[in-house]
């Protein structure tokens, strides 16, 4: 972007006051409500605190981290589940959402119906999504087991109770939402794509697949970055759907996730604030990698 913007020196006093106000208020809210708590959490992660009295905060150095890494049984399973969540989401629903967006962008009829049907799960609250999947997965009356019974499989599978299965059951429900989200984001990106490029590729004899992979995909790099970040962040932050499908009581065997462990320690009666904060910081550090990559990719060209 060429530096054609108005230079601040040409502004009058009233204008400067107005600008200071419009930037000051949101900035204050952001710093006080988001960044200050984030920094405070980092500080708290080096302490032990029951969360009741401020004088009960004791500095313990890296004790919480040592404990978490060596002596907290649900930690490593939670990390494993988060990684699995990320891999699953990155390999299935995300590319599928992109695939659907590409086909929806081909000027066909009923596009709006298809879009709505696939995006609908995103519109519903996680509480509703959780409930909808509960009555699908219910071991006695659920749709899934009823269909399996009717097909003669005859097993009573407890989809959400079995620690070997429940994470996959939740992943399906999560993919159901995620696909629509990615589809909409990518569709928005495709709308801004210059169709002339695509037609030039077609003139050169490229087929649909070649055009997509060699022309469309590279040209949509900014959107690709957003898709990647959304996928990573959603996988790391995954909370609501697991919370709801796990019965709303915190982490459950087979479904431990970092976000749930934090909530267990911070909100539960246990009141291990320092411990929970240390877990939060670990989550933050992993997220920072994604945030950093995103910021570098998105804002690099403008910096030049």
């Amino acid at each position: 972007m060429p530096p054609a913007s108005s230079s601040p020196s040409r502004l009058g006093r009233g204008d400067r006051l107005f600008l200071a106000f419009v930037i000051g208020l949101p900035l204050l809210a952001l710093l006080v409500l988001v960044w200050l708590p984030a920094l405070a959490s980092i500080a708290l992660s080096f302490t032990t605190w029951d969360g009741i009295d401020l004088s009960g905060i004791h500095w313990t150095g890296t004790e919480n981290y040592t404990q978490i890494f060596t002596n907290y049984p649900p930690f490593w399973p939670a990390v494993g589940h988060n990684v699995l969540w990320l891999l699953f989401t990155a390999l299935l629903p995300t590319p599928f959402g992109v695939f659907l967006a590409y086909h929806l962008d081909q000027k066909i009829r009923f596009t709006r119906f298809y879009q709505t049907a696939i995006f609908l799960p995103m519109v519903l609250s996680l509480a509703v999504v959780g409930f909808v999947w509960e009555i699908v997965y219910d071991p006695d009356t659920g749709l899934l087991n009823s269909v399996l019974d009717a097909a003669g499989a005859g097993h009573h599978i407890d989809w959400l109770g079995d620690p070997d299965l429940n994470l996959w059951a939740v992943l399906i429900a999560s993919a159901w939402r995620h696909t629509g989200y990615i589809m909409i984001l990518y569709l928005a990106g495709l709308k801004s794509f210059d169709p002339a490029l695509e037609e030039a590729a077609a003139l050169d004899g490229a087929n649909g697949r070649q055009t997509f992979f060699r022309v469309v995909l590279p040209a949509l790099k900014p959107v690709n970055v957003i898709i990647v970040v959304v996928t990573v962040m959603e996988s790391l932050r995954a909370f609501d759907i697991v919370y709801v499908l796990g019965g709303g009581t915190g982490s459950k065997p087979g479904m431990e996730l970092l976000s749930l462990l934090i909530t267990d320690n911070i909100i539960g009666e246990s009141g291990h604030i320092g411990y929970g904060s240390a877990l939060a910081v670990i989550l933050l550090l992993v997220s920072l990698a994604a945030i950093g990559a995103f910021l570098v990719q998105t804002f690099r060209k403008e910096d030049a």
Binding site: V32, L33, W35, P37, G205, N207
Partner: protein, 309 residues
């Protein structure tokens, strides 16, 4: 379905080399396959929802006797009316409106102001500001919650704003954190959108001596209408559906928004899934209305920094 008009460029699409089997040059046939694919996926995506709708329409007695996987012997809306009247749903719905509407409007106004600031003027810190806002939205909510909770316990509010006399346990607190947290995403999208507005428009206004606030309110904001429609849709959905902040920052069940009220209903009537299904589907109506109302502008307004930039 085969009557779709081919694009002007379609004759040129004929491959020079023998094409792979999946790349047949005949467009109508390809569209049929496409419709088949999209229709199948759409249907598969709707199945869990249709199952919930079906469950909610059946009287409890019917499903208790014949099971859920059976033909209906009578459908009615009684579950909906029961869920509406027995769970205090109107009250919780009102709580949700009181949180969502100000939070969405506040988020859009704040982020429009920030986006205007960073895209229209050459301040040295613009890029850093934009990054600060965008990164703020990417922080996991769990990282913020403990200090935020303590902070909310420290901030007094007058009695006419909150009967808890604190930011904690009041709708204001929820609105404030939603605005601060969601601003990042909206600022990002809006600043991408505002960059596509030609500089000459505001330059001209500046030369004419129009004050900056008038450029903002009368020129830039109206031009951003499609982006506002898209963001209003997404933000209404997110804020209305969120239950992490109310779960942690509101103590009194009575003040919680409808998403948490659904949990109450589930606790009270856990033996009657038909009733809960009806309640759950009803809580989704407001976001569905917003989505269908703004659908037309939804995709076109969602500029994510691609193409024209």
């Amino acid at each position: 379905m085969t009557t779709t008009t081919p694009r002007p460029a379609s004759p040129a699409r004929r491959p020079k080399r023998p094409a792979a089997p999946d790349a047949s040059p005949a467009r109508p046939r390809r569209d049929t396959g496409r419709h088949l694919l999209l229709a199948t996926v759409s249907l598969a995506w709707l199945v869990p929802l249709l199952w919930a709708v079906y469950t909610s329409l059946r009287p409890y007695g019917d499903t208790a006797k014949h099971g859920y996987f059976s033909w209906p012997r009578g459908l009615s809306l009684t579950n909906f009316t029961d869920a509406w009247s027995r769970s205090g749903m109107p009250h919780f719905l009102w709580n949700s409106v009181l949180i969502t509407v100000p939070a969405v409007l506040g988020t859009l106004l704040f982020s429009a102001a920030v986006a205007f600031f960073v895209t229209r003027f050459d301040f040295r810190l613009n890029l850093a500001l934009l990054m600060l806002f965008t990164a703020g939205n990417l922080l996991p909510a769990q990282v913020l919650i403990t200090p935020l909770y303590r902070l909310y316990l420290l901030v007094p509010l007058p009695w006419w704003m909150s009967d808890s006399l604190l930011l904690y346990n009041s709708a204001w607190g929820i609105i404030a954190i939603h605005i601060a947290y969601q601003c990042g995403f909206c600022t990002f999208v809006l600043s991408n959108y505002m960059k596509t507005i030609p500089k000459e428009i505001t330059e001209a206004a500046l030369v004419d001596g129009a004050p900056v606030w008038r450029q903002f309110l009368q020129i830039v904001l109206p031009l951003c209408r499609p982006a506002f429609a898209a963001l209003a849709t997404l933000e209404s959905i997110w804020i209305y559906n969120d239950f992490f902040w109310p779960l942690t920052l509101i103590e009194t069940g009575d003040k919680r928004p409808i998403t948490s009220a659904l949990a109450n209903l589930q606790g009270q009537y856990f033996t009657n899934p038909n009733l809960i299904a009806a309640g759950a589907l009803m809580t989704a109506i407001p976001t569905l209305l917003v989505y269908f109302g703004l659908q037309r502008q939804f995709i076109s307004g969602l500029t994510l920094g691609s193409g024209k930039g």
